[in-house]
Amino acid sequence: MREKWTSKMGIILAVAGSAIGLGNFLRFPSQAAQNGGGAFMIPYFISLLLLGIPLMWIEWAIGRYGGILGHGTAPLIFNRLWQHRAAKYFGAIGIFGPLAIFIYYTYIESWLLGYCFYSLKGTLLRLTTKEEMLGFLQRYQGVSSRDVFVYSYLFFVITFFVNFAVIYRGVKGGIEKLCNVALPLLFIFAVIITIRVLTLGAPTPSHPEWNIANGFGFLWNPDFGALTNSKVWLAAAGQIFFTLSVGIGVVITYASYLSKGDDIVLSGLTATSLNEFAEVILGGSIVIPLAFAFFGNGGAQEVARSGSFNIGFVTMPLIFSKLAYGTAFAFLWFFLLFLAGLTSSISLLEPMVAFLGDELSISRKRAVAVVGIATFALCQFPIFFISRGVIDDIDFWAGSFFLVVFALVECVLFVWVFGIETAWDEIHHGAELSVPRFYKPIIKYVTPLFLICILGFWFFQQALPTFLLKGVPRENVPYVVGTRVGLLVLFLGIGALVRKAYRRKFKELP
């Protein structure tokens, strides 16, 4: 008997928890500031309406459909939608992707726990320059020296066990209970920090023009010229894609714990809207306005360009060191990011655990133990080879490229193979809201075409150069190639398990 969610609010918070991650608070503001400011919101909202929301409904519907048939993961659900021998292997991406992301994501998540500790201890706030802060991050990562790394590793072990402790307790007792507490806490912490930012005024007396209103202007003043640049549209579509956790396979697994008559239209839309609230309103009100208020226009531009890691682990603690009650705010900031990371990382584990339970009849206890041992071993690679480009490479393949491939496959299978009429009926079973009819042609034509365009652009702009190791320093090439071989082996291993599960369930192959 498969587990079920206890309440409607439970699954909404769990899906929102999976979607709300570090990207909402760190990636979105940097993307918006670099890609046209307020004008970025035009392609952003168009992508949300044409790509994000339809894919969200498709994944919820596929998941609920599969769950009723006893499948909680994509491989055998895809096989039900399309009786072709290749279908289950496309579905294997829905297990491989989250597991591969988990391998490096947990490590980064553990930095947040570590930084909570160092905020309270006062270590972080004693560092007053960017160089000192960057130096500490490199020591923490074990790149420049090993003196802090031992504590960093300890925080990784704690984070890793917290993840598995939650998953071990199951859907109701673990994931749902955690998200019911963690999500409200996350919102409260983010609102407290946002209120502090909004009431900051001009904190640098020598530069009264460095104020929060101008900081918001830096993020929101539109540059309409950016709209003629295809890269801006691609960046907006990419942001929507990553922020909603679609194309990973996680939402399918979560929705598989629903029953036939349960609503997915309103629930999916609510989870999406909570994610957007966290991203645009809270995420957009913290990092960039603060950076502008403390470092001015040039500093804010540098921060926006410096990437998510630098914003989160260098710029923000530096700003908190200049704020009154900085220790408390730094702790709130890192703890809210830790909660965002935790509710995302547990969702990355669930597909593999669900697959072992549903398709190979392995008990949750044993499945968690097996996945725990395997992932603990795999996590050592990004930890010890972080300076060799391992994390970036796993993130590109598992966290970007295969996401779009998987989304395109699920969209085509559900809408074109399963059939738009059946798909439309499936989405509306038990619906508490009716999807507007104009969404039917959007889901059938626009969303898959949008995905094909993204895939095409990425293939030529990013995947081809990345595949050909362009820009990878010569000394890192063996590590990057090794990472790819490792990912291939992991995918083949999951493929073999999928084949075994298929034979076991259908006994059609010799």
């Binding site: 079920k4 309440s7 307020g38 919101m41 918001f216 539109p222 909570l274 508490e432």
Partner: protein, 35 residues
């Protein structure tokens, strides 16, 4: 911040807050409905 910046901010926030309030209000009618 320029006038157009304010317009984009208010429209974006308004759209998202409107969606959140509508969805949460609908869900809160039966928030812990057994599934």
């Amino acid at each position: 911040m320029s006038v157009s910046g304010w317009i984009f901010l208010i429209l974006s926030w308004g759209l998202i807050l409107g969606l959140v309030i509508f969805c949460v209000w609908r869900v809160l009618k039966e928030p812990y409905k057994d599934l």
